[in-house]
């Protein structure tokens, strides 16, 4: 049974974790631990894939752990199978990457024990079938990833990142505890089967609260604005393969939690809940990519970009909610398929990009793009794989990012049929925001690839970079190949997702395997269709044809000379564009409104030989308007309540006395 197989894989992870503690100081420790993780992930991936494709019965497994009257329930239904595929694919790729990358780890004893535990935690969250196990494994996942974030604790920024991560994770878990408490009701029926069997429809007040708490809890782990602040601090602080897991996989586990609570356990929501989700998702999408554009640290840029992609997933989920409430199951299935396809795509290309950043960090010791450049000559294979990741994440055909975005656009085009006015006004705006973020994402990755890999090296480290080890390259090329395959053969992915959407929104997209030429037809032939394979074939054929024609018709001569540069060649690499100068036009257009971006130039008077200074000032609106006031309020309250620590004995006794009288009064009046 697949559940037992995956649980054995989880047990193997725990064994690897223990091995990590004991063998960390040995040279063989790293390959051993990561090798076990790779094998385990592969086995779990295969069994989850079998479960998803064959769609057998999903029996429950109850283990006598945890609460005595509840036990621990584990189950793999279609939703869990899909997310297990995502988790283990990411986990396997990261383990493969770490076989090479982990050799350069300076503190393996701080990473090796917790990495398998992190993988185990993520798998267990998806397997869990009752609230207690879910929450326990969720916390376990957060704690093990926190330990990994604090792996390089000597730097102050990593410590700060870990602190904020712990705060936000605790807050998220609190919200989820409350959500599950509301769902389980006063009888304490924590099993998911019991929650589904409980009284439907849930009263609207309770449903609204559960949705809000699920958004807070799962949304903060996924990275919805304004709960995203820990993400760009924590994800870059961890080692690169862990960053890939946190960005590419852990955020998906959070999305799984949201889907499980809102679509599966809560049942039919009301239409304004979809408005809340859509509004938050739209803001998240645009803010995420704008934040990413302002960054010059490669890993922080990638982490902020994860925020944007989570926004795209939640746009699909919000649309699915809106369609489901209005009884349009087919459109809901389309929107849900788009969201889940994007979940799969993002785990692929975000992991690939983080692996590339890790390879660059390994070779040059630098994460700052302003000190890199020209790496395409020194690290050609890494740059090719990173380029594939950039093209995929910018939603360009024929790769996979375009397909999920295209499906989301088709879902938006089905939404004029929705009757509610609020949705009628909100959905076009969200569509425009989605298009805006797609264009900005392209800009962001032209910047990321162009400044890091192209141009001329801006520092000694960049000049002396070397290619990385074969394991890292293998992991990156595996993911790049999957990106291409998912883009060319999207019909298979859509068909694989059909049982998942059937279980969630009681509808599924038409079978794509029957469509000729491997195209996908979401609604009907006359309405829209896309053939990734043919587009790829056309582009390849046209390119080859033009190469052949040029070869026959044009001159072959080639001469290498210094760059033309309009006749003003400058040998200093500092005259080329930096990351912040590349982003300057966009910073002026969008940043001056959103981030209050201001540029200040201090010119010394003539005759003074000091250099001129250009300062760019950005303010983060989320910190300024949300977190700073909260921090101030907390500080203020703590200041006031501090007095309670220093009272006399008589004051404490009178406090207890007053409270006792009050309780007796309450008992007298109300009982």
């Amino acid at each position: 049974m697949p559940v037992i197989i995956v649980l054995y894989c989880v047990a193997t992870f725990f064994v690897a974790s223990v091995l990590g503690i004991t063998t960390a100081h040995m040279r063989a420790g790293t390959p051993l631990v990561y090798g076990i993780c790779l094998a385990s992930s592969a086995v779990a991936l295969v069994s989850a894939l079998m479960q998803l494709l064959t769609g057998g019965a999903a029996p429950e497994l109850v283990l006598p752990l945890g609460l005595p009257w509840l036990g621990s329930h584990f189950r793999i239904d279609t939703l869990a199978a899909f997310f297990l595929v995502v988790v283990n694919l990411g986990g396997g790729a990261a383990s493969l990457f770490a076989l090479g990358y982990g050799q350069h780890e300076t503190a393996p004893q701080r990473v090796l024990p917790f990495y398998p535990a992190f993988l185990a935690g993520m798998n267990l969250v998806v397997l869990a079938d009752d609230a207690f196990t879910f929450l326990l494994c969720w916390e376990f996942m957060s704690l093990s990833s926190w330990a990994l974030v604090m792996a390089h604790h000597r730097e102050a920024e990593n410590r700060r990142a870990g602190y904020i991560y712990l705060l936000m994770a605790s807050f998220g878990t609190l919200a989820l505890v409350l959500a599950f408490g509301l769902l389980a009701g006063p009888d304490g029926g924590y099993g998911f089967a019991m929650i589904r069997a409980a009284a439907h429809p849930v009263p609207t007040m309770v449903a609204a609260l559960v949705l809000a708490l699920a958004l807070l809890g799962a949304g903060s782990k996924a990275g919805l604005v304004p709960l995203h602040v820990w993400l760009p601090l924590a994800h870059p602080a961890a080692p690169s393969h862990v960053s890939a897991l946190m960005s590419g996989v852990m955020t998906k586990v959070a999305v799984y939690g949201f889907i499980r609570i809102v679509f599966d356990l809560l049942g039919a929501p009301s239409w304004w809940s979809s408005m809340v989700v859509l509004a938050l998702a739209g803001i998240t999408t645009v803010m995420g990519v704008l934040y990413a554009l302002m960054q010059h640290d490669l890993k922080v840029l990638l982490a902020y970009h994860t925020v944007e992609n989570i926004g795209i997933v939640f746009i699909g989920l919000g649309l699915a909610l809106a369609f489901q409430t209005n009884g349009m199951e087919f459109a809901a299935a389309l929107a849900m398929t788009a969201a889940l396809f994007h979940v799969f795509n993002h785990s692929l290309f975000k992991s690939l990009l983080f692996f590339g950043a890790g390879a660059v960090l390994n070779s040059t010791g630098e994460r700052d793009m302003e000190k890199l450049g020209g790496l395409i000559h020194r690290m050609p294979l890494v740059s090719f794989a990173f380029l594939v990741g950039c093209v995929a994440i910018s939603a360009l055909p024929p790769l996979n990012g375009f397909v999920s975005e295209w499906l989301t656009f088709q879902a938006i085009l089905l939404s004029p049929a929705l009757p509610q006015w609020g949705l009628k006004i909100l959905i076009p705006v969200v569509g425009a925001l989605l298009a805006l973020s797609a264009a900005l994402a392209g800009a962001c990755f032209v910047k990321a690839f162009g400044v890091t890999f192209l141009g001329r090296p801006r520092s000694k480290h960049a000049e002396k970079a070397t290619e990385t080890d074969p394991f890292s390259l293998a992991a990156m090329f595996l993911l790049a190949a999957l990106c291409l395959l998912a883009g060319i053969l999207p019909g298979f992915v859509i068909d694989a997702l059909a049982p998942v959407t059937q279980g969630l929104v009681a509808g599924h997209m038409p079978a794509q395997a029957a469509v000729p030429w491997l195209a996908i037809v979401p609604v009907s032939e006359s309405r829209s269709s896309y053939d990734g394979m043919l587009v790829f074939a056309f582009i390849a054929l046209s390119a080859l044809l033009s190469v052949y024609a040029i070869h026959r018709l044009a001159s072959h001569r080639l001469r290498r000379v210094p760059a033309w540069d309009c006749g003003f060649p400058d040998s200093s690499p500092f005259t080329q564009y930096t990351a912040s100068s590349f982003a300057q036009p966009i910073r002026r257009v969008f940043g001056s409104v959103v981030f209050h971006a201001r540029e200040r130039v201090e010119m010394p008077p003539p005759g003074d030989s000091r250099p001129a200074v250009l300062q760019v000032e950005l303010r983060d609106p989320v910190w300024d308007f949300l977190y700073a006031p909260i921090a101030l309020a907390v500080g203020f309250a703590a200041e006031r309540l501090n007095h309670l620590q220093f009272l006399t004995i008589r004051s404490y006794l009178s406090l207890v006395f007053v409270l006792l009288i009050l309780l007796l009064l309450v008992a007298a009046i109300w009982l």
Binding site: W421, I425, V589, S592, V593
Partner: protein, 220 residues
Amino acid sequence: MGHLAFDVAHLLAGSLVLTSFMLLYQDRLTALINVYAGHALVLTLSVAWQAYIQDAPHLYVTAGIALGFKAIIIPIALRRIVQQLGIHREVETVVGIGLTMLAGLALVALSMVVMLRVTGNATPIAREDLAFALAVVLLGLLMMVTRRNAVSQIIGFMSLENGLVLAATGARGMPLVVEISVAFSILIAFIVLGIFLFRIRERFDTVDVGAMDQFRGDRR
């Protein structure tokens, strides 16, 4: 014919909204006055078309007044005022043009939602005409609120009045007398405003509303 009548009326009312957006987009005074002349011209065409399909010949007179006064005389006079006062500058806005247009879009959406919900059982032509007219009025108000220059505020006010005329001609049966008196009162108000502008410019060397605020006596 009914379908064509609806379509053309629709198109002209939509063009009026579009021209209001173009008014918001301009950043130079002479271009603003030219676009306002275009605004009045579109209004003329719309009123003339309504006169044709409603079979109401008095509306032709309204169209003629719109053409004569608002599309020809007032822009010429404004251009002369701008030349004589020597204001050839850019239109200063309170917030950027992008944000202003975004606010304009929100106002159009608001007027759509309000008008289409409120007028449940009127004819489709009238409903959508009213929705567009309310949008033009709101955009004219937005222009008055977000511009610092007195001349551009006057133009915002006049585009607002154009929206009102669009609404009035969309509904059947507006008497001509009202229209003549409205037009004359506008003309008189305009002459007074013009004289005021001359006096203000003479006195303070500027017509910037923000600068004039400083000269109020009862400030502190």
